[in-house]
């Protein structure tokens, strides 16, 4: 039976430190949707993957919780709340689109990830094609893991803090998370909705 390299090198491999974006909703908030993935909007009507490990939204965690963290949460078309952990997103992608073992059948969960996204983007009225957030998230997880390997084992490896497509444009908007929440307040008869976009400093 195979065993992860990390735990062969270090029995407590899942306790190793790793940077992650981890902003959970509060107990009195009902999360409608959340996509914890870094992106850049611009230049023009384009979306690109963009990770900044130096962003104040990144905090130190450990591999175990990082791997099992909820990264996507949204309501499916029939109204069910779908919750995806990092582990689930990465394994679905690995099993359906890459690597040595590719499942010949489409994974229903992955199809939902591609088709049930409630978000559409536009820039100055121009509609932007919805990105495959699963791929963006998987690449971001790879960046976080690379920094973790450097931090814990190979200090000589060159790992920059910022990863994004092309040269950073002079005007663009960066964000690390998008979420929508219903906030229930005791003093308020009706719940109020909150839209949160975690922009970078």
């Amino acid at each position: 039976m195979s065993k992860p390299l990390l735990t062969q090198v270090q029995p407590n491999g899942l306790d190793l430190q790793i940077l992650e974006h981890a902003e959970e909703s509060k107990p009195d908030e009902e999360e409608v949707f959340r996509f914890a993935v870094g992106m850049r909007m611009g230049p023009g009507p384009t979306l690109a993957p963009a990770v900044d490990l130096g962003s104040s939204h990144h905090t130190m965690s450990s591999i175990g919780p990082w791997w099992n963290r909820t990264v996507f949460s949204f309501r499916s078309q029939p109204g069910r709340q779908l919750v995806y952990t990092r582990k689930k997103v990465v394994l679905i992608l690995a099993n359906t689109e890459g690597g040595a073992h590719v499942d010949p059948n489409e994974d229903a969960d992955y199809v939902r990830l591609l088709t049930d996204e409630p978000l559409t983007f536009d820039c100055d009225g121009v509609k932007i094609e919805t990105p495959d957030l699963a791929r963006f998230l998987t690449a971001q997880s790879g960046v976080e893991m690379l920094e973790c390997l450097k931090r814990n084992f190979f200090s000589d490896v060159d790992v920059q803090l910022k990863w994004e497509f092309g040269t950073a444009p002079p005007i663009a908007t960066y964000f690390d998370q998008m979420s929508g929440r219903l906030v229930l307040r005791l003093a308020c008869e009706f719940p109020s909705a909150t839209m949160v976009v975690s922009r970078r400093d």
Partner: protein, 62 residues
């Protein structure tokens, strides 16, 4: 019998280099395929909305 730690570290180093190379490729432009949408018109119809969402790609590979 467990592998010697040096051998395991060597393997981990290989995987680290592979990960770094793959990520550079992705952020240098191969991510464009992330914007590719296969035509899912059979499953793209939204409830309560007669419009069928088109997922045909307009992205270009760089």
């Amino acid at each position: 019998m467990p592998r010697p730690k040096e051998k395991v570290l060597e393997k981990l180093r290989e995987q680290t280099d592979f990960l770094r190379t793959s990520l550079r490729g992705f952020y240098e432009g191969q991510f464009a395929e992330s914007l590719h949408r296969h035509n899912h018109s059979d499953i793209g119809t939204r409830d309560g909305d007669e419009q069928t969402t088109a997922y045909t790609s307009t992205a270009k590979r760089s």
